[in-house]
Amino acid sequence: MKCKDIREWLLQDRSEENDPETDMIMAMHLQECADCREFQRRLQEDLLKPLREARVPVPPEIWLNIKETLMQAELEKSCLRPRLMSGWFSFFRPAYAVIVAAVFLIAAVLYIPYRNQQIVFNYFDSQADFLLELSEAQNGTEYSAVDFGTPIEEFLL
């Protein structure tokens, strides 16, 4: 195995690879080859180890700024919208609209036949009254609301 191939392997992160044969070849080569051992040491110690330890302390004011901004935004939101109603309108808004539409639709479907029925009943009532009045006027039994014009007009008839 050439040093070039071993260095290619060393550059690969083999911690997630399950290839004991390759690992054994590499280990044997590294035992014999001082140059490759030095390459591995430089890669791991000088380049990758500092990277693993390169955690950066986060300035505390970042969280304070975020918290302040979020609290400010929440305050503005609560001022714009009454808190009591916010729950109703913020959650499931489409579902809420569908429920309202369904209620209106059901009310309309129930009301329309009732309204038509009322119109028909009113018409029957008025016709019945008219026929009754006509028959009473014909019999002359009772004063009728059915007239044929003014008294003069009636006389001329």
């Binding site: 992160d13 990277l51 693993r52 390169a54 950066v56 300035p59 970042i62 975020i66 901004t69 979020l70």
Partner: protein, 187 residues
């Protein structure tokens, strides 16, 4: 804590600031570190970190638990940092000496470290500044954050083989830069 629990995420999504603070403390190290190494300026890095966590706070209610929260936040952080880097016009990325010194002072209390350690850290920061954003990001995700290949693939939205190849190339680039005269000549 290796992962943020579902209850904390749900509480934060419902607007609980103390739950959100726990999420922030768990993930802010990576977000700030990545931003700092991308833009190489502590003030810009702070702004990017704030931007990331504002996005996280407002988008948390849309989080569907299909990936881990850490991966989800890292993805937002990587995208925001890369966009910020482009927006800032790379004005600082190739200007090295001055900002490197600022960055080095920010990243660790150097006075407490031995000289060799300080030199090694400075050297590494310098080398990182020479890498492409893609190589730098993948090295930080793997080496600093210790993400698995699968997690890196999820964060960067690339497949596993691309993760392997890109990581290898990033290391190759790092070694080449270290072995070339770039440090001796420019540092």
């Amino acid at each position: 804590m290796t992962e943020i629990d579902r209850h904390t995420i749900e509480q934060a999504a419902a607007g609980d600031l103390s739950a959100f603070e726990r999420i922030y403390h768990f993930t802010s190290g990576f977000v700030y570190g990545l931003a700092l190494r991308m833009v190489r300026n502590p003030q810009d890095a702070s702004e990017i970190t704030q931007d990331v966590f504002m996005k996280v706070y407002y988008k948390l209610k849309d989080f569907r638990f299909q990936s881990s929260l850490k991966t989800w936040i890292y993805r937002i952080a990587v995208n925001t940092a890369l966009n910020a880097r482009r927006r800032l016009g790379l004005r600082r990325t190739r200007e090295t000496s001055m900002d490197d010194n600022i960055l080095d002072l920010q990243t660790a209390p150097m006075t407490q470290l031995p000289c060799a350690e300080v030199e090694r850290k400075q050297r590494l920061e310098f080398l990182l500044s020479r890498l492409t954003p893609e190589h730098k990001t993948i090295l930080l995700l793997r080496e600093t954050e210790g993400l698995s290949y699968q997690e890196i693939a999820d964060v960067l939205k690339i497949n596993l083989n691309t993760v392997r190849t890109r990581l290898k190339r990033a290391r190759q680039q790092l070694v080449l830069l270290a072995e070339s005269g770039v440090i001796r000549n420019e540092m």
